[in-house]
Amino acid sequence: MVPCPDPVTDIGRGRLADSVGALVPTRARARVHSVFARACNLETDCGEMVTLLASGCGSNPRGIRYASRDDLLPLRLRPGQAAVLQDMALRIPATDVVVNFSRAAVWKGTVAASSPAWHQLRDLFELVRSHAPTQGFAPALFASGNSRSPFQRAMIARIAQTLPKLARATETRDARTVVAALRSLVGLGDGLTPAGDDFIVGYLAALSSRAYHERGLAALLRALAVPVAQLSRHTHAISRQMLLDALQGHFAERVTEVVRCLGGSEVAGAASRLMAVGHTSGADMLCGLLFGFAPVLTAKLLVGGASGNVVGETAHAPVLAC
């Protein structure tokens, strides 16, 4: 049996975390769920997810971020290994991993209030149009990438069908129709976190930000909480947790950073950092953010996108000229 080190007396021996999410439970038993080079997901006995992050990753409402380790693969973490959260430390006894987060900054992940004007979003649209990958939501909005698999074509058709409805329903605060539209996006698309889930997270972040100024949106968000939580059962555990946290108003640092920088000169850098998350995840969240801030105008881009215009000239150019 591997002896369990005492995390409190092991501060010198264990690694220190520099960021811990406000939603990380202080006491729980868990198991390693999935392992990647820069993140390791743990699932607690209650079914909640906690993520051990490599240094350099953005803070996360359920993340414990190493202060100095930028690659988790050498830790030999494996799905199924037992883990314990206790006394402000995470221990994975089979690997001798001890991460002390007693001195880490706590990340809540709430978004700042913002109601950007359309012209303040246009640089972001340009950035997504220029740099987004050819999978995920961006091709639907901007018709980027001309070689699509039948799966991608079907996905783009689905998005083109759904977003105008979601846009109208959002602006009329029609919760029932919003839920129906989100129903067709949950778990949709390729990638580890399906593109649809990432988009919804960005969308919810924008609504949360606008809700500071728009009472109707605050009510809409409250009305969405239960039905969208139910919808989250239609995707897998990692995505589900991300959606549930977003419904509670908690987001990853890369998302909140874009919202905070909107309208300022630093927004392009923040958006680039968000787009660097995952393969398409960051770009899909950014698309969701843009959509959430300007649903009707963003949905109009689909006129160009779905019809296959190279850069959506018909919709894009006049919009940017606003």
């Binding site: 690659d71 149009r129 778990g187 239609h234 398409t280």
Partner: protein, 524 residues
Amino acid sequence: MSSTLVKIVPREYRDSVSLMQLSAMLGKLPGIEQASAVMATENNLALLAEAGLRVDAKGASASDLLIVVQGEKSALPAAIDEAMKSLTRQTEDSGGEARTALRPRSIQMALKATPEANMALISTPGDYAAAEAMKALRLGLNVMLFSNNVSEPEELLLKQFARDADLIVMGPDCGTAIINGTPLAFANVVKRGPIGVVGASGTGLQQVTVLVDRLGSGISQAIGTGGRDLHRDIGAISMLKGLKDLAADPATQVIVLISKPPAAEVAERVLAEAAKAGKPVVVNFLGTDPKQVGRKGVHAVKTLEDAARAAVAIARGEKPRNSYAEGASSPSGLPRFAKTQRYVRGLYSGGTFCYEATLLLGELLGDVHSNTPTPGTTELADVWQSRQHTLVDLGDDVFTRGRPHPMIDYRLRTERIAREAEDAETAVILLDVVLGYGSHMDPSSELVPAIHRARATASAHGCPIAFVGQICGTAADPQDFTRQARALSEAGMLLAESNAQAVRLAAGIASTLSRPAAQRSRKA
């Protein structure tokens, strides 16, 4: 009739890149029409059905990975096996030996670990690139700036700082260099020798260095400057610095300068310095008249090939010729073209190759359309649609947004080949194949099947197509030049020695077709 096979891998979480690579790999297997590796969510199952993949995934949950392949029934089990092997390989790779070396996380850390270094290669998103380049310059390092999306004012600031510190900034958007014999970014493995090259063009540098190598000579240094260096506002700061360094370099006997047409006053400044270099300088400013460029100590030429040949001749003590162009001999074994077939369609991965081809083809045939038009040719109205003679730089931003460059990823080109083959007016498809570091490791594996498919399509319409191309590579390149050349030749591609020769060959074929049918038959 195609069949579908499904594999459900329970509770399997892979990162997005792995899943997309798996889908792409399966889609390329023999007998497979389409493949998908996605999480088995309800919406994805519905989407697969909409995409024509009839999937029976009873018992699958959103936490499971779904692998679906469609194609010839006999090919499906092997594809699923290959998918499972690939997943296992990925697991083993990620569980390999722990890496213990501390990777530097800043230029300063890297310099501390390697204090003898005098150059930094920077490849970050454009938003950060200028700041990183400035950090490197302040640390006394020369800079190769691979990144693009650095603004012209930032470029000027960096280059002025470098000039004052007697350093060089190669770039931004500098994709090719060979420094002290080491190929950097997209560059070929060439012999070392007496010829130094400074170029504001990546594939221009590759063409000249490759041809110098093939002609039996070698390269002392190949210095990239970035495409905007000879713009008026930048003033050729990097080219002048490269010229000065090569003039002082005892290993360099002949200097070659390459650029697309520079601003007139900048050209004059560069040529004045070249004339004072104290060594023979060969200049190829594509699109400018060599007679207006040449002067004492400066030998001006029209094509990249001529630049390489003239430089080698001078290095050997021979008198260089003004032009090495020879009339293209009619190749044997050409197909019997249909009356509708009249045009050349050039599908380029190298921007400078496309530019040079547009210049030459415009002179030889006229009616040339391109997304990199030259004086006398026409800008392509719709870059996705060819018109008359069309030459397309597929490395242009409009094609490469969110996808790898066509030197790495051949999909864009193979798809366009297929489209051109469906056009009854296409007679010749003209291609460049770039080898060397950074480029696709086995281009013939992508092009040969595309050529066969295109031939089949075109022949079915009664319009057989000729393929003409050049391989920009050397025997020492990692892709095995001989094997690539053999595979492409066996597929029926007519291979020329250089881009210029390939264009002349294509023009030669097309010129016989452009004549009225009656005249052709009388000649026959």
